[in-house]
Amino acid sequence: MLRNNKFFFPALLVLLVIILLCAIAFGAVAILPADMFSALQHFFKGQPPANIYEAVFLQLRLPRVLLCAITGAILAVSGVLMQGLFRNPIVEPGLVGTSSGAALGASIVFVLAGQLSPELKSMTGPLLVPVMAFLGALLATYTVYALAKNAKRISIMSLLLIGIAINALCLSGTGFMSYIARDPQARSITFWNLGTFSGASWPQVFILMAVALVIFIAVQRYSKELNALLLGEEEASYLGVDTNKMKRRVMLLNTGMVSIATAFAGVISFMGLIVPHLLRLLIGSDNKRLLPAAMITGAMLLTLADMCARLLLAPAEVPIGIITSLVGAPVFIILLKKFNVLQQKGGYNA
């Protein structure tokens, strides 16, 4: 167990920096450290990039790697939050409708925006997809939340079940959009559902970074209450936690950050599930350590996945969702089997 090892976090951070640097350096065009350095120098002096390498670094590679890292951190933290809220280790952010709602919003834009009016599409330009995805995610999650609420309490069980129903509903909507779509539109939907960071831009990085910073600091304050909730709702309330208020706030923060991340990058599966599991096996379930660890590990793993996505079939790109699922699923099963979690008494997976 590494739970009390004081080198755990420093080591994790060093690893993250190394992976970020590799991800920036490697790609269809390799970027040398000297180019990175001189590009930054030119940038801060207000001069244009001196050559193509510097331009690629500043305008493509750096925003992409940063967006990817922040998204990974958000998805992993969201997994920790959701699993804590639902007191169920099999929960992931997609379960309450966030991803499927975003996918529906995006697919509506892909298929209908151009058909209704070409001007609309050119006017709103690249913003339309993220905005609609964000709205779709919020709407779907809110619907799940509102329907699951009865009288005063928010029952976890009904939240899960209604989440499944709303997910099915959104999926059928997305399916219908693919059905009526023309070929390139249908491909857009498919790609968006597999996630990609190829459209990363600086404004996206700044928005997501600001959101992530604020929300990470906010949820860290809830780590004690989330721990108490692991004992059960009644026990948490005996410990003085206003469980309904806490659940409402954490859900809101969580939905906010996942919606925005999904709106920029598309649906990326498995990150929210596998990172918390991996970390629970390494450092235990105390959310005070788990949340920051998930942040760093999520950033690390998704950056690695994106690097693979760019390099495997270079110069072509594999959608990142394919990588995360392809690697994530077997790793997840191995973790469960190896650590005997499935057989554990009391049911880690109950």
Binding site: R3, R87, N88, P89, R221, K224, N227, A228, L230, L231, G232, E234, E235, S237, Y238, L239, G240, V241, D242, R280, L281, G284, S285, D286, K288, Q344, K345, G346, G347, Y348, N349, A350
Partner: protein
């Protein structure tokens, strides 16, 4: 002191509690006995402040429980449930520390750590301290939970009493730990804590309770010190099973013997 006045509680049309009045004093262990569905657990839930959907008033010293804030109440009131569902890997010491959550903001202070150590000593848990909670047996888990509950109200608050509610806490313990549990409870009660427990075992109740409340069908049938109120007729009336009360060699307390229907 905890005072319940005219407590009435209903779920839908069913009247669960009919006009309960009772006073509980610090330093005394009060045990509630009664058959299934007699309203014991509902009364406990109302008394401990878990629900406010009832008519009547519960007073903690002089404050109406409906006006007390949860986080404030949690500093002097702890509740032990029959079973706690914790399905995530945590160390035993981490679970015990959860009892101190109402007392610190983000990081536990020296005092919180010292309290947890003292309790783990007292509860024979030092050997388990670094074990994963999920690998413990049912009885061991229950002892850890008791340690957590005790950590919550270990220290005397600046003003007012401390309150400990126990809802059938010993069902999963072996006879040795059942006694140890109730002895610890009794010792704690002596430190000016109001203890209200729901138990099923009449003999354990007679042995450890200072006051017993017999409940049936949402009302109080009889309350008082065990020696004063317990008769074979009363137990038969409440539980609907014929019993005999006997003394045994060298014991100063009687025991209830059941006539099992054959």
């Amino acid at each position: 002191m905890l005072k319940a006045e005219n407590i009435q509680y209903q779920i839908g049309k069913k009247q669960i509690l009919k006009d309960i009045n009772a006073v509980f004093y610090p330093g005394r262990v009060a045990v509630i006995l009664g058959p299934n569905g007699s309203g014991k657990s509902s009364f406990l839930k109302i008394a401990c402040g878990e629900t406010n959907d009832f008519t009547g008033t519960v007073f903690y010293d002089n404050s109406n429980s409906k006006n007390l804030k949860k986080d404030q109440l949690a500093k002097s009131r702890a509740v032990m449930s029959q079973q706690t569902e914790l399905n995530f890997p945590l160390l035993v010491s981490e679970v015990v520390m959860m009892g101190r959550y109402p007392h610190f903001a983000f990081n536990p202070g020296h005092r919180d750590i010292a309290v947890c150590e003292e309790i783990m000593d007292r509860m024979d848990l030092q050997a388990f301290k670094d074990r994963n909670y999920l690998t413990l047996s049912g009885g061991e888990k229950q002892r850890v939970q008791f340690a957590r509950v005790l950590a919550q109200i270990w220290e005397t608050p600046a003003s007012g009493s401390r309150y400990l509610f126990l809802d059938e806490p010993i069902a999963s313990l072996d006879i040795h730990y059942q006694h140890q549990f109730l002895q610890t409870t009794k010792m704690l009660a002596a430190e000016n804590i109001v203890v209200i427990a729901v138990l099923h075992d009449i003999n354990l109740a007679m042995h450890y309770a200072d006051d017993i409340i017999f409940m049936k069908e949402g009302g109080i049938v009889k309350k008082g010190a065990p020696a004063d109120i317990i008769t074979a007729d009363l137990i038969q009336e409440v539980f609907n099973i014929p019993v005999k009360i006997v003394g045994y060699d060298g014991a100063d307390k009687p025991v209830v013997v059941y006539h099992y229907p054959s």
